[in-house]
Symmetry: C2
Subunit: 323 residues, 2 copies
């Protein structure tokens, strides 16, 4: 066995050598998730994907189409100039190929390019993404004659902050809605584009789809907990939640979307659900993250539970490799 | 207020769209931290850094020199071929420029290039790094006539697994040590290189330097907890620990090196320290990570505390961007 003194010396030596050498700024990364009103004609969808892939500084991570919704979602990342160019290119193709007057589908929609959120991931602030949304909105309106509504963080009007409020009435009700005083667009003409309608452009935080499974089959417990934590009924500001039965497993689930993981972090939601469940004698079986999650959202949980003080993202080895 | 049903529908829609599209393999990343017996002649050190920087597929993240130790540490990352080439280049320069017969310094050393660990970071296994250590060891021995000892995970002999055992006696005692039956090298000649001695090459996990500060000034509590958790006195296998007084703050610290965060994870060490401290009526003030930490070490803590089931590293947004 080594002496405690020699162990102490060895630890001190290693920790002294563990300084962080040079802190470089992160590369800028913006995510952009345009929703387009075409989910059936594969050649039209493929042409839009090709157009995005051709833009320098942009990576198309994914695209998926839903024929019954008649809608496609593209997920791309890049720097500010790259995602701006990709969105303009997408508008060029979509306004040429899509006609809302003959478009039918289950999903509500207002325009050919229906919604375009810009999402800060790394080396970029929400303010940068808001500025980008306004710049792109003005450019789209000028170049394609499509009226633009700014939404979420880019919104300039509390009554028009949420997508569902802007989209209410859909393309078919748009001309009448735009004729009212409250619905002059943020950019572009005061009437819909004949075939491309109007578009909603804005900035928002990355969304975390998060579920907590409870060790019970009591659906009422899941529903009560969902009501306790969701914003609409008095809970956390950035939580949407509902209780579900998972029939095949005989357990219930609190299913959530966390719309701002910085202001309403995962660990606080988890601890609150755990505490509320205790009140009914129920424990948490497990939680699950559906799809993608920003690294910062998980790191915040590690920092919280381990009580890590003064931690900097630059201390994560992989982050240094990406600078 | 929205109805619970409309919230449930909105959540289900978002979560359905949150599938992970295409899972690509990670890029291969190996960290390599050669320690060289020269910490005073800046032109010699600069030439070694330049030589490493000139190797394609390799990034020199950091290098630092300690004149009293007369030793420099280089931190580089790259793929297998890149780090292999960088190490060979470094041996070429070090064997030309360093003569152990006239080298003096506080730090123990055996050779011009003293120690070379290969560390798996991403898209590469420990077995890959062991194979790489053996390949590089054989190549160095053949090309430069330097005897090589394999250490840690690459070790072929339990008595020669740890650096301190191999290095005991230092360069000055090496010729006599190598003349004994137990100390034939893994590769190369059975006697030291006249000026460059011998080198230790191997593979190990990334080391996490981790401290926990206690809300007390009782040094005996920190020392007792350190003894409880460290391997040498019966604790966790991959923990080195010592208790220290932080004089300026009037508190004590359990200072640790975690030598394998996969097998002895941070959260388990934290929870054990917390529990042991409770026994003395002491609580944890905060913990701190010194220097760099692999993302996986923090993610494991998030998974543990949030009870996340079935999580895959590919779900972290930034990981997808790096594929």
């Amino acid at each position: 066995m080594k002496s405690a003194a020699s162990i102490a010396k060895a630890i001190a030596e290693v920790q002294q050598s563990h300084h962080i050498p040079d802190i470089l700024p992160f590369k800028m990364l913006i995510e952009c998730v345009p929703n387009v009103s075409e989910g059936r004609r594969s050649e039209v969808i493929a042409a839009m994907a090709e157009a995005i892939r051709g833009v320098p500084g942009v990576r198309l991570l994914d695209h998926s189409s839903d024929p019954s919704h008649n809608r496609s979602v593209f997920t791309l990342v890049g720097d500010s100039a790259g995602v701006e160019q990709a969105v303009l290119t997408l508008f060029e193709r979509a306004t040429a190929d899509i006609d809302l007057r003959t478009h039918r589908g289950e999903h509500p929609r207002l325009g050919a390019v229906d919604v375009v959120p810009f999402i800060p991931i790394e080396g970029v602030t929400m303010a940068d993404c808001v500025a980008l949304a306004k710049r792109v909105g003005a450019e789209v309106a000028a170049r394609f004659g499509v009226p633009i509504y700014l939404y979420e963080e880019a919104s300039t009007n509390a009554a028009r902050r949420h997508l569902e409020d802007i989209r209410r009435g859909e393309f078919e009700g748009l001309a009448a809605k735009m004729a009212t005083a409250d619905w002059a667009p943020d950019f572009g003409p005061a009437a819909p584009h004949p075939s491309a309608g109007a578009s909603v452009i804005g900035a928002r935080m990355p969304l975390v789809a998060y579920n907590i499974n409870l060790a019970t089959n009591r659906l009422d417990v899941a529903k009560k907990i969902a009501a306790a934590i969701r914003h609409s009924s008095g809970g956390f500001r950035y939580v949407k939640a509902a209780g579900f039965m998972l029939e095949d497993r005989g357990i219930v689930q609190v299913s959530m979307n966390l719309t701002n993981y910085e202001k309403t972090p995962i660990f606080r939601v988890f601890e609150t659900v755990k505490r509320e469940a205790e009140r009914y004698g129920v424990s948490i079986l497990e939680s699950e993250i559906v799809g993608l999650v920003p690294a910062a959202a998980l790191n915040a949980a590690a920092e919280f539970y381990l009580q890590i003080g003064g931690f900097k993202p630059e201390q994560i080895l992989e982050n240094k490799l990406r600078t």
